[in-house]
């Protein structure tokens, strides 16, 4: 091919250069964002000045002056707004942790039931999943709170469960533990037992890897964790007594009360999230091909070690990432507490405190930052766990 006389390609004009274009475009976007942000900040400052709303975080040290129906730390009407934040935050954490626990247990049960070879059981699990997944959580929450718990009988006619739990329209009354002298010994021995079990398990794994000899580390660990505190309790003479609720007059004395808002929130959050977790568990287990089971049987493994050593570790790899996002969802959904007046961070802090101080910008920012931090924390932890479980490839 004759390529004679082709003029050397002229440099294209600089505005066709992708690098120049990229820089120009980014400068433009940045300028627009900064200008827009400055405009909003300017407006906000003007509005705040006009409405006479204070700014800054000084309000956190001001006395709150209102009561909160449930608190894990000491709180009174003289406490500060900062304390209100802490109370709300801890209540959010509490309901999320309890909800995650029940949702996981229920979700795994229903997910396994969905795969059961028993037709009735599998259809029932399916009906549960399809019903609860397709109804808004807030509606379910209202149902549990307004239609079920609020229509329960008064304390005098409480529903009695297991002899010492009482369900009535003031909540769930249950016995509360009272630690006595020497109880700390039991707690310390429990902590020691956990550490010891951990080291025994590590030693057993190392020995198995080195020599192939197996060691019943699960039962040994369980024995240590139960046995050591039990021994400590026997030595110190069972330093724990229970305050059993008693009906006196119109209400219960002694024991502790779980407020109905808490009960409704936990029930609604865990039953709703369980439907999603069940689907995740089902997908995870079906993703392990049947050949794996057959291969394990061919190696002579029995049913239980097949499940424990072959199926579940592979299924968990598929299950963990979506399970993380369900835990995150549950934590974020616990903010629906505001709708039934459970004193979580949204209700007491973004609600009541905002109403009293009017400092919308600071309070909404703190609330959002808190949730953001929680989300990042949970996803960070689950990513770490996922990496630990993930397939190590060459």
């Amino acid at each position: 091919m004759a390529v004679d006389q082709v003029a050397p390609a002229a440099r294209p004009p600089f505005f066709y250069d992708p690098r120049v274009r990229a820089i120009f475009f980014q400068v433009l976007v940045l300028a627009l964002v900064i200008l827009g942000g400055a405009y909003l900040v300017n407006n906000t400052l003007a509005n705040l000045a006009r409405q006479g709303i204070a700014s800054g975080f000084g309000f956190l040290d001001t006395t709150a002056g209102f009561g909160i129906s449930m608190s894990l730390v000491e709180y009174s009407e003289e406490s500060t707004y900062g304390r209100v934040f802490l109370v709300g935050f801890l209540n959010t954490i509490l309901v999320s942790v309890v909800g995650v626990f029940f949702a996981t247990v229920l979700g795994f049960l229903i997910g396994v039931a969905r795969l059961s070879r028993n037709w009735v059981v599998s259809k029932m699990a399916n009906a549960y999943i399809e019903t609860l997944r397709n109804i808004p959580l807030l509606l379910q929450l209202f149902f549990w709170y307004f239609a079920v718990l609020r229509t329960l009988p008064s304390p005098r006619n409480s529903v009695e469960l297991f002899g010492s739990f009482f369900l009535n329209n003031r909540g769930l009354t249950s016995p509360s533990p009272i630690p006595e002298a020497g109880f700390s010994t039991v707690v310390i021995s429990f902590a020691v037992a956990i550490v010891a079990a951990f080291f025994v398990a590590r030693w057993a794994r190392k020995r198995q890897e080195a020599t192939g000899q197996q060691f019943p580390r699960f039962w040994a660990g369980l024995g240590i964790i139960i046995g050591l505190p039990l021994l400590a309790a026997i030595v110190t003479g069972f330093p724990l007594s229970w305050s059993v609720p008693e009906l006196r007059g119109f209400n219960f004395v002694n024991g502790m009360v779980l407020i109905p808002e808490f009960v409704a929130l936990v029930v609604a959050l865990s039953t709703y999230t369980a439907a999603f977790i069940a689907e995740i568990v089902r997908a995870g287990i079906t993703s392990v091909s049947h050949g794996q089971t057959e291969a394990a049987f061919a190696l002579g493994l029995r049913r239980s070690p097949t499940l424990r050593l072959v199926i579940i570790p592979q299924a968990l790899r598929v299950i963990i990432p979506p399970l993380t996002s369900q835990y995150l969802n549950l934590t974020k959904n616990s903010s629906l507490a505001a709708a039934i007046a459970y004193p979580d961070i949204v209700l007491v802090f973004a609600g009541t405190v905002l109403m009293q101080t009017g400092q919308a910008v600071e309070i909404i920012s703190i609330t959002m930052a808190t949730y953001l931090a929680l989300s990042l924390l949970i996803s960070g932890f689950m990513n770490w766990y996922n990496q630990k479980m993930a397939l190590v490839e060459r």
């Binding site: 028993n118 009735v120 808004p136 209202f142 973004a350 905002l354």
Partner: protein
């Protein structure tokens, strides 16, 4: 071997039907219900549970329910009082929208349903155009129908909007807006320009990390502060903005999943053909990526539809808000359960329908092996 088989010489045994215990209903039940002893126990327990649960519910909802009447005094029987739903039906559907103007809402529904049915007709040509009309043209028509104030239609203020109608408006706006914004954000997140990428990541992670309630709170108390003096948004528009930001962040992550799932060869092939960035995205990448994530997109829609009920917390009366309002009316106290059951049924139909449609679409668009 039983005695029977000895009557025949070897190889002459006639083909007998399978034993009755392994075919038909009995065989099915033996395999699926009574395979082992624990399985049998499980079946019996499950059936007992169903017998304990279902008859009282049927009795409450149908047999001893009150169906006719106008006031709560007509509810005299043990079961559900569906009169409550009947009396409040218009408010539950349309909120306080003026009675004479309700035809406008119904007209919009009819247009949407008609276009939707056309989408289902097999073999019809021009379906993409119908889809485009539903996503771009219909919202404009619906806006003029609902708001009024032009074309000789009287103005209807948004505080009068409510019920299922408001739920559909909020979720519809969220759905229609979240797809394009989400696509742009997803492209931005995968862009090579650091400034654009970090802005998109911040935006997406910020909205995804916080609950919708705080977004709505922000929309209702902080947005007014952002605006210059004298200018103010409707409460509904503020809520819509919040919902839009929130859902487009989720949509962006779904679309990003599709973009990442495409093999790199697709990008390289498009570039080798000399396509510009937008042509490459519009003609090669996005059509494939969006098809991959249809289930994710529909799941986001379902989630958004369910989440719209949260607007009742900032004082908008959507479907559930109207149910709450009706249930706290002094004349109708004590019928909360009927209201919740009705609302649950309504939401369930929409969400279940959407999830089935997505499964259908997924099967139909599956062009792989």
């Amino acid at each position: 071997m039983s005695e029977q088989s000895q009557d025949y010489t070897t190889g002459q045994h006639p083909d007998l039907p399978a034993p009755i215990t392994s075919t038909g209903v009995i065989g099915w039940a033996r395999i699926n219900l009574f395979a082992t002893i624990p399985n049998t126990i499980l079946t019996v327990l499950a059936v007992l549970l169903l017998l304990w649960l279902i008859p009282p519910v049927i009795d409450w909802a149908f047999i001893s329910a009150d169906w006719s009447g106008q006031t709560r005094d007509d509810c005299t029987r043990e079961g559900a009082c569906w009169v409550f739903i009947k009396v409040w039906f218009r408010q539950l559907m349309y909120g306080r929208y003026p009675v004479d103007e309700i035809w406008r809402i119904n007209l919009a529904y009819i247009i949407a349903v008609a276009a939707g049915i056309l989408l289902f007709v097999p073999g019809l040509r021009g379906k993409p155009w119908i889809g485009l009309f539903l996503l771009a043209g219909f919202p404009i028509i619906a806006f003029y129908l609902f708001v009024g104030g032009s074309f000789g239609l009287p103005d209807v203020e948004t505080p009068l909007w409510g019920g299922l109608f408001l739920t559909l408006v909020i979720s519809g706006v969220g759905i229609v807006a979240s797809l394009p914004i989400g696509i742009v954000l997803a492209l931005g997140r995968r862009s090579k320009m650091p400034v654009v990428r970090s802005l998109c990541i911040t935006f997406i992670e910020l909205w995804r990390g916080v609950p919708l309630i705080t977004v709505l709170f922000m929309a209702s108390v902080m947005f007014p502060l952002f605006l210059p003096e004298g200018m103010n948004f409707d409460k509904l528009i503020r809520a819509l903005l919040g919902v839009m930001f929130f859902s487009s962040a989720y949509m962006a992550e779904v679309v990003r999943g599709g973009l990442q799932a495409l093999p790199k060869g697709q990008y390289e092939a498009a570039q080798a053909l000399g396509l510009s960035y937008w042509k490459m995205m519009g003609l090669v990448i996005l059509p494939q990526a969006l098809k991959l994530v249809i289930p994710g997109i529909v799941n986001t829609f379902i989630g958004l539809f369910k989440d719209t009920v949260l607007v009742l917390i900032i004082g908008l009366f959507d479907f559930l808000g109207m149910v709450q309002l009706a249930g706290t009316n002094p004349d109708w106290l004590g019928f909360a359960i009927e209201g919740y059951v009705f609302a649950a049924f309504g939401f369930w139909i929409f969400c279940f329908g959407m999830s089935r449609y997505s499964q259908h679409l997924e099967k139909k668009l599956h062009t792989g092996h």
